[in-house]
């Protein structure tokens, strides 16, 4: 038996024994495993499952074992994911530390920093959030103004971050700060800040779609030890760019197909609302609209698959993430527009006797989808990136 076959058998056996039964059921929102200093475990199995996985390093399966990771090679990792999927296991740990900060630390941090920060991430003990955007920056991320002044033994940080997801629940924040005001991209540094430090004040943001995980985070005379700097001083933009690409790819894959799942698919919904004619949606022009969208979805999914295969074969074009982000978010917005049209005023009702909750849940998702083409780099920014990096179009026109 090959090593991989052995690995699969052992993994399967271990999961069978160690994944609690309730962790193999669909996960309600409130049972998301975020870990952290002040974790919330409405279902105690969530904690058991996380700790068992963390003990094997399988909350971060491909990270090196010396930092608490699983040390798996890509083939083994694939098997682990397949086996987890086989039993419908819930994620053992949700973590911006694992998804975003960890890879950056592994690439850019000192040995000491890796030892200090990575193991608690793997164990789900420290929950991280991201401090990139600022009210004044937006698409021009490098225009950020939050200042970190060198005070000899520490940095004094002043400024305001926005769109910091879960900042009100996070333990630490990884931040871009300005350490040189005389230059733009070359004056940015990457700093780690404990949210319990005096002067850090996260406030939740209410969106048009309702409450949200986003916060504004005010930083007022926050003292940050100098050893919390990652990478070289004024070289933070390099780390940021790496993280942004990662985020873009993550966002474009998210949210697809959500929303209608509970309603049984757009095409079924259309049949339900407008009836059937020879087994087809009885409303011919809406049927055409639904069909266009279904074609969009199938074509887009094929594009994701193609790009995956090309990337594996080393034929990347360099801006795939921007194409996906652009097209995926615009498509998702169209999807909710169509769902609203299908459901009419029923989807616009937020409270009402005899109204179906699943239907009433659509309008907040529709509103939230409008942010898809803004967050993680706007559609306009993605189009700029494609024009520059792939099409190699000249810059500087002013007409």
């Amino acid at each position: 038996m090959s090593n991989l076959e052995t690995f699969r058998e052992e993994t399967r056996a271990w999961l069978e024994e160690n994944c609690p039964a309730s962790m193999r059921t669909p996960m309600p929102d409130e049972e998301q495993p975020w870990g952290g200093r002040n974790p919330s475990y409405p279902n105690p199995d969530t904690k058991v499952w996380m700790e068992r996985m963390a003990a094997r390093g399988w909350t971060a399966p491909t990270w090196p074992t010396e930092y608490g990771g699983g040390g798996l090679n890509p083939d083994e990792n694939k098997i682990l994911l397949q086996e987890l999927k086989r039993i419908d296991a819930r994620p053992s740990l949700n973590s911006f530390g694992i998804w975003m900060l960890g890879p950056a630390l592994l690439e850019f941090a000192t040995e000491e920093q890796k030892q200090k920060y990575l193991p608690p991430i793997v164990r789900g003990e420290i929950r991280w959030c991201q401090g990139y955007s600022e009210p004044g920056s937006g698409s021009d991320l490098a225009g950020l103004q939050t200042k970190a002044e060198d005070m000899g033994d520490h940095y004094l940080v002043n400024g305001q971050k926005v769109w910091t997801s879960y900042a009100d629940k996070a333990d630490w924040i990884f931040c871009l700060v300005r350490t040189d005001t005389s230059v733009k991209h070359e004056g940015i540094s990457f700093l780690l800040i404990d949210m319990e430090t005096e002067g850090v004040d996260p406030r939740p943001i209410k969106l048009i779609s309702g409450s949200s995980p986003f916060c504004e985070t005010f930083l007022t005379d926050v003292k940050v030890p100098k050893e919390n700097l990652v990478g070289e001083l004024n070289k933070g933009w390099t780390i940021a760019k790496r993280l942004l690409e990662h985020e873009r790819a993550m966002i474009s894959g998210m949210n697809m197909g959500a929303g209608e799942a509970s309603l049984g698919g757009m095409e079924e919904l259309a049949k339900e609302v407008f009836g059937e004619l020879d087994g087809m949606i009885a409303h011919p022009t809406l049927r055409d609209t639904v069909t266009k969208h279904k074609m969009d979805e199938e074509a887009f999914n094929l594009t994701l698959r193609r790009t995956g295969e090309l990337a594996k074969a080393g034929h990347g074009i360099g801006a795939e993430a921007s194409i996906f982000k652009f097209y995926g978010s615009e498509m998702n917005k169209r999807r909710f527009e169509i769902l609203l049209e299908l459901l009419g005023t029923n989807a616009l009702t937020t409270e009402g006797e005899g109204h179906d909750q699943d239907v009433m849940d659509i309008s907040p998702q529709w509103l939230r989808s409008k942010g898809n083409s803004i967050e993680g780099g706007t559609t306009e920014v993605q189009l700029n990136i494609i024009a520059k990096r792939v099409l190699d179009l000249p810059e500087g026109g002013q007409a």
């Binding site: 926005v162 769109w163 969106l207 005023t345 989807a347 009402g352 007409a399």
Partner: protein
């Protein structure tokens, strides 16, 4: 404000002096007395009424509640164009009042078909803002008058109603309801409807408040053996479809005027933002891609202005083209408000996504307006049918 009849404009597109004065009055009233913060307050304080009764009282004192109502019934009789100008200003501040439900939709139904007795009994109270009347029309999530099936059985010269209505605007605060019921034929027939005026506290009537995404109100209405006496039928039994459709067409045009107000407001705010907001050291409105999109939107708005203005003036002239024009207008404005609210929000970027900024409120309102009395798809189909193709 004068209560004299407003002089008809000499052209189809240019306002008379009195119309201009009316518009200015309305603009001042809504911007000062009913700014957007008024809607936010109603929403955040979970107002039981969902409207501000003081504001409605002031509006009525200004004569706004009776603009469509002839002087003989206590109205100010400024006509459809006059009401359109008021609606446009109301649309700019997202004013939540019974203007549309009571002073437009119900009033138009009464004017189209009610007996002299009923008119005298009801219209003066509407004009004074003392009575709110709501129309109970829809039965599904999609506007479709022909599909009405709430049953009206004939009995003693009157009707007995059984069935359910949804999306009844301001139903929960209405003193009376006009219930559109089927007394003849079956679901899908254009004709065979009756218009029944009932008291909100009638036996057999249940009204339950709903909330909508635009923070305005509608209701679910249930009739269980609800008795309507002969004198409470508006017009004649079975013949309600024609006056209803005529009232709906005028209401669709006036609703389009409100949509136009919102479209203008969102566009102007977006334009301001494009000039103020800087990225990469320059105002974002200097980026050609955004400039071109803004110019295309502006062109679309100019077209909307022409369509709304013409439809209003033709309504005043009792043109026989009103049905066609109503569908043209409602479809066009629905499409335009979708475009403008989507583009307005995207151009505002992240800040547009926050509840603090008003652009999201306009998007929500635009969506409800889109569905109300028929979405663009409904009206395209109707326009084609009315044109014979």
């Amino acid at each position: 404000m004068t209560t004299e009849n407003m002089e008809q404009p000499k052209t189809d597109f240019i306002l008379s002096e009195e119309q201009t004065m009316l518009r200015d009055t309305a603009k001042q009233f809504f911007s000062e007395q009913v700014p957007i913060s008024n809607l936010r307050k109603l929403r955040d304080e979970e107002s039981a009424d969902g409207i501000d009764r003081d504001v409605w009282k002031q509006a009525s004192e200004l004569g706004l509640a009776g603009i469509l109502i002839p002087e003989a019934y206590g109205g100010t009789d400024f006509g459809i164009t006059g009401m359109g100008l008021v609606m446009e200003e109301a649309g700019r501040t997202l004013a939540a009042t019974p203007l549309f439900s009571s002073s437009i939709l119900s009033t138009l139904v009464l004017l189209e078909a009610a007996s002299e007795d009923l008119k005298q009994a009801i219209l003066p109270a509407i004009a004074a803002g003392e009575m709110i009347v709501a129309v109970a029309l829809e039965e599904s999530g999609h506007h479709n008058p022909a599909a009405i099936s709430l049953s009206a059985e004939k009995k003693d010269g009157g009707l007995v109603l059984n069935g359910r209505k949804t999306f009844v605007l301001d139903g929960h605060i209405a003193d009376k309801l006009i219930i559109v019921a089927r007394s003849k034929g079956q679901k899908g027939d254009t004709n065979g409807l009756s218009l029944c005026l009932v008291d909100a506290n009638s036996d057999g009537l249940k009204v339950s408040r709903s909330k909508m995404v635009d923070s305005r109100n509608s209701s679910e209405v249930t009739c269980e053996n609800l008795t309507v006496s002969a004198d409470m039928i508006i017009g004649t039994i079975d013949d309600g479809a024609a006056p209803l459709e005529s009232a709906l067409d005028q209401a669709r045009i006036l609703l389009s005027a409100e949509i136009l107000g919102g479209v203008n407001e969102v566009f102007e705010r977006t334009l301001e933002y494009l000039k103020e907001r800087k990225q990469f050291g320059v105002p974002i409105g200097s980026f050609q891609a955004l400039r071109h999109r803004a110019s295309a939107i502006f062109s679309e708005i100019e077209i909307c202005k022409a369509v709304v203005t013409f439809a209003l003036s033709q309504s005043d002239k009792k043109s026989n083209q009103i049905a066609r024009l109503a569908s043209l207008t409602k479809a066009r404005l629905g499409e335009a408000s979708t475009l403008v609210s989507n583009e307005g929000l995207q151009m505002h970027g992240g800040i547009g996504m926050t509840d603090d900024v008003d652009v999201g409120l306009f998007m929500k309102r635009a969506r409800v307006q889109l569905q109300l009395l028929g979405d663009p798809r409904f009206h395209r189909e109707r326009y084609a049918r009315l044109n014979g193709y």
